[in-house]
Amino acid sequence: MEEENLSECPICLQPLLYPVKLPCNHRFCFLCIKGIRGPTQTNQTTKTCAMCRQPFSIELLEQNLEMNLDSKNKVFKWFYEGKTSGYWAFDERSNLELENAFHDKKDKIVISIAGFSYCIDFVRLIQYPINHPERVRKIKRCEELNTENGDFKIKGIAGLRVSERTTTTQPSSTSSSSSNTNDDNEASGTGLTDQELSQVFSESLQLK
């Protein structure tokens, strides 16, 4: 049997998104556990844990969110320093894994992007390739809204350049233009789309 991955949701088999811990201590994505069917059609406020069938109240679900109250309604994004200037946003899947590890108060984690393993050090706020610890880049965590306030310059997502005119962190804008300068695309400059990247990424998750 494969190793149980604690940061994986047993319903969607993906990294936990907005994790919820039920009274029985089983963890799921908020939306995944919210979406499960109740034991009967008549009682919609009580459902049972998908792992152990212990009943829980759907009304208490939001209180079981593992995030701090102050950050509950805010979306945070992670960025890594470009080689020459500015910051790149992590792709969505990596961002999710970083957020989860951050909330779990981990010192460091290893994530895999397009087949390369990177160490993310939350204490020193840096990242580096496992095989090249000298190639240190800074990382940042920002509330999504603040990134548009000229706080620092965002180049794009995971090596895909966003158009200079509409710098946002929305993945939809990445398709508009992508530059050929490979100078600082090293982290994930493989020419993959965000979707392909997260595909590769989800596959590599199993290897851990």
Binding site: I11, C12, L13, C32, G35, I36, M51, R53, E203
Partner: protein, 152 residues
């Protein structure tokens, strides 16, 4: 057709990478939600030596609702009816989205090892299984010989 959910992609990958012993499940070339399944009859059961074909379909709201599974190969079993429908609680009211294709097929394999005539679907088979188990087992072996060995 709508895009295949990541969960189904991941389950399929894992089924290919770490197959369940005695079970093969291969997605159809034209429909990734439809699986061609072969379960080998468990040792020390009347189904030993047989290869049983099943079909498994993942409905639109999978994993919130259970996969649909049916025996294609004829089988003499108190919990499987003439049409191959299976009486198994996890396929009905005991379904949980944390269960997977893998766990469903393992449960079906276990059902072949341990028929349960007290919770029957095929009533005449269950009846015989209760009043004359030896004869029921003889029938099951004969059906295995006749339907699950030759044309596979």
């Amino acid at each position: 057709m709508a895009a295949l959910p990541r969960r189904i992609i991941k389950e399929t990958q894992r089924l290919m990478q770490e197959p369940v012993p005695g079970i093969s499940a291969v997605p159809d070339e034209s429909n990734a939600r439809y699986f061609h399944v072969i379960v080998t009859g468990p040792e020390d059961s009347p189904f030993e030596g047989g290869l049983f074909k099943l079909e498994l379909f993942l409905p639109e709201d999978y994993p919130m609702s259970a996969p649909k599974v049916r025996f294609i190969t004829k089988i003499y079993h108190p919990n499987i009816d003439r049409l191959g429908r299976i009486c198994l609680d996890i396929l009905k009211d005991k379904w949980s989205p944390a269960l997977q294709i893998r766990t469903v097929l393992l449960s079906i394999q276990a059902l072949l090892s341990a028929p349960n005539p007290d919770d029957p679907l095929a009533n005449d088979v269950a009846e015989l299984w209760k009043v004359n188990e030896a004869e029921a087992i003889r029938n099951a072996k004969e059906w295995t010989q006749r339907y699950a060995m030759e044309d596979n």
